[in-house]
Point group: C2
Chain length 418, copies 2
């Protein structure tokens, strides 16, 4: 097994070749897509071995996430070609000034350098992440989960063959062979070798990275998303939006976890909500949503009383915490106390409250009369997504290609001194 340290050094050493050959990036991506298809039998065989080994230890959902098919590999290759077709973020002049002394200063977007990604489940993340990093001019170090090891390795082999066919070094894509905690820790501490660490996975992984990383790290994905139904909201629309935000895909980070209802409409709205999310969903053969109610809500509709913890939990399930609040200010104050800074929505016809909410709520995405489910690179028009940042430094919300770049100032003159 190759040492993680050795992989880090090799990947960094390969970086200048990519920086010097920007024009080859898209050729490389096309070759990578070709190789994924050409080597699909090897990838499928490796994947069968992973699935075989996992069958005794994991449930059906996990096995499904792990399993590759010809169609899924074709989808991966198609994804690579779509990324190739996106605009190149590198080399963009963000601001150009010509100073009175004749200096020409260009603030220019440049790659971060080496991006390390620690991820857990699905093997398609291997090609997604590698290709986004390469397209944005970065080398990448991949550290996937144990259960997908063989599949990930086969995919990385295909990617490296694609790089070689285009004349770029294979070691631009580093693959960590050790899947123990030790290798993740080594990436977190690789100061000077890793320019950005992106954890993609469960809350535990993300917490471990943000608490222990000595290298720059992006906090991704935890979403305790709120929707506030204001007194003036269109209540029919509110029912549709809430059901979509909560129940269209409860396992994702942009799903709603907490509903706040203005006290002026709670008496009429909450009974309708309960019917809509429980009985009516059962009639449509859909899983009902369990409501966890604060005291004021529990005085209006029957349901499970909410514990204080329920307003700080990312359920990722058909469960919704519900509270009644006095007004928009109270809703904003509740969100300030409990938000994870991901996505928050107000449903209202009151323009003043909408303005107040978007100004005062501190989150990556703030919505007016829209489901929180739209926080996504594709839906925001970025064309792709490396993850959703819930921090404020560098990138916030969906991270596309631009967010995988930093900038430098390139200054040209003819002998200026100060």
């Amino acid at each position: 097994m190759k040492e993680t340290r050795e992989i880090l050094l090799e990947t960094r050493a390969a970086l200048p070749a990519l920086t010097a050959s920007r024009e080859r990036k898209n050729i490389a991506l096309e070759k990578i897509a070709d190789c994924l298809l050409k080597e699909q039998e090897e990838i499928l065989a490796a994947n069968r071995a992973d699935v075989e080994a996992a069958r005794s230890r994991y449930g059906e959902v996990m096995i499904d996430r792990l399993t590759l098919t010809k169609d899924r590999i074709a989808g991966m290759a198609q994804g690579v070609r779509e990324v190739a077709a996106l605009p190149d973020p590198e080399g963009r002049v963000i601001r150009r000034v010509e100073r009175p002394n004749g200096l020409v200063i260009e603030k220019t977007s440049v790659p971060l350098g080496v991006i390390a990604i620690i991820y857990e489940s699905r093997p398609n993340v291997t090609s997604d992440a590698a290709v986004l990093a390469l397209k944005s001019g970065n080398a990448v170090i991949l550290r996937g989960g144990k259960e997908a090891f063989r599949s990930n390795l086969a995919i990385v082999q295909a990617i490296r063959h694609g790089l070689e066919y285009s004349g770029l070094p294979a070691s631009l894509v580093g693959f960590v062979e050790d899947t123990d905690h030790a290798s993740a820790d080594e990436l977190m501490h690789a100061v000077g070798l890793v320019d950005l660490l992106i954890p993609r996975g469960g809350a535990g992984l993300i917490r471990r990275c943000t608490e222990n990383a000595k290298v720059p790290c992006i906090q991704t994905g935890t979403g305790i998303c709120h929707i506030f139904v204001d007194e003036s909201a269109d209540l029919d629309q509110a029912l549709t939006i809430i059901e979509n935000a909560k129940a269209s895909r409860p396992s994702v980070c942009n799903a709603e976890e907490v509903l706040l209802v203005h006290k002026g409409i709670a008496d009429t709205f909450l009974p309708r909500l309960q019917k809509h999310l429980t009985e009516e969903r059962l009639l449509r053969s859909l899983p009902p949503v369990e409501l966890r109610l604060d005291k004021a809500a529990a005085a209006i509709i029957p349901g499970i009383p909410a514990g204080e913890k329920d307003f700080d939990t990312e359920f990722l399930d058909y469960i919704l915490a519900v509270a009644v609040v006095d007004d928009a200010d109270a809703a904003i104050a509740h969100i300030a106390r409990h938000s994870t800074g991901h996505s928050e929505a107000i449903l209202t016809k009151n323009e003043e409250n909408a303005k107040k909410f978007t100004a005062l709520v501190d989150a990556a995405a703030v919505y007016v009369n829209v489901s929180t489910r739209f926080t996504d690179g594709g839906e925001f028009g970025l064309g792709c997504e490396m993850g959703i940042s819930t921090q404020k430094l560098h990138a916030r919300g969906p991270m596309g290609l631009e967010e995988l770049n930093t900038y430098k100032y390139i200054v040209r003159g003819n002998g200026q001194i100060r």
Copy 2:
């Protein structure tokens, strides 16, 4: 003495009042400038006490940095008015997209929230830092050094009176009364209360912050800046640029510390350089520059042999480490090994080498035929500067008002679901 924790909570609690009253920011800044002048007697008295206490323990340079005069206070007030006149970074729509489904998505610049600044020496940093934070919409927590405590407190009082006159809460500017390590540590660990920590001071302070901070932190200021004199450089111009970069103000972070000379011109250039930086400076009654030479340079001119450490030292003094390199590639490789990512320059008439250098050298500012001394908010046209970032995440190089903002996505619709 007020607990640091209490100050953190008060400052954060004051933030929404600022967010809700953007239009009062400039009024507040004008009032702050007025109060600095109105209360100059109190500030000068406090400063006299600081200077008195410091006299036995510090040298003249330090005493000069600490001492305030009527002129210096007038300069501080003038600085505040100049910041007030700068464009407001808040609320700028960085990108607007209208999606096919009707969603209007505005990527909008917003303040970071609460910015904490740990600084060491000059009391004028107190008003500079507070005012840049306020102008960009942030609350601020100031933690200055022990030796300037009374001066800093008097300046903060004047700032708070200015805030009160404009109807904004005085606690938008928090002042940490404890000047021990414990209070700095508390700021570094104030997760959820501090959105950005900026250390302004010596290398020790900055290292302590970047290594221990649990809150987001900007690495500032360490500059081991290189100048590479290529074979084709204008050698007369090179002498002028090198003297300026090294000796115009050796104590600052954008001063040159290392000179790399192409081997093809070393024989002619190094003797001229030595004469220019030593004998000729002595004739002009200027301090000579001590040269620390690698083997190849020492074979051409006399001087102190460089230890390996000399190529990794921020001298901040009239000392220059000199090495002879084979070509531009070797210079780029040397810089990659030894750079702190601050400012690096090539002097050349060869356009290909200039392009290669600006593409491959990984630093906040990369110069062609210019002194490194220009890395500065004012010189870059930002109008002001909170510090110079040597990290790649969020901000790089001089940090002006824009760099004290993050962004959020404000999304408006009419009932869209996904």
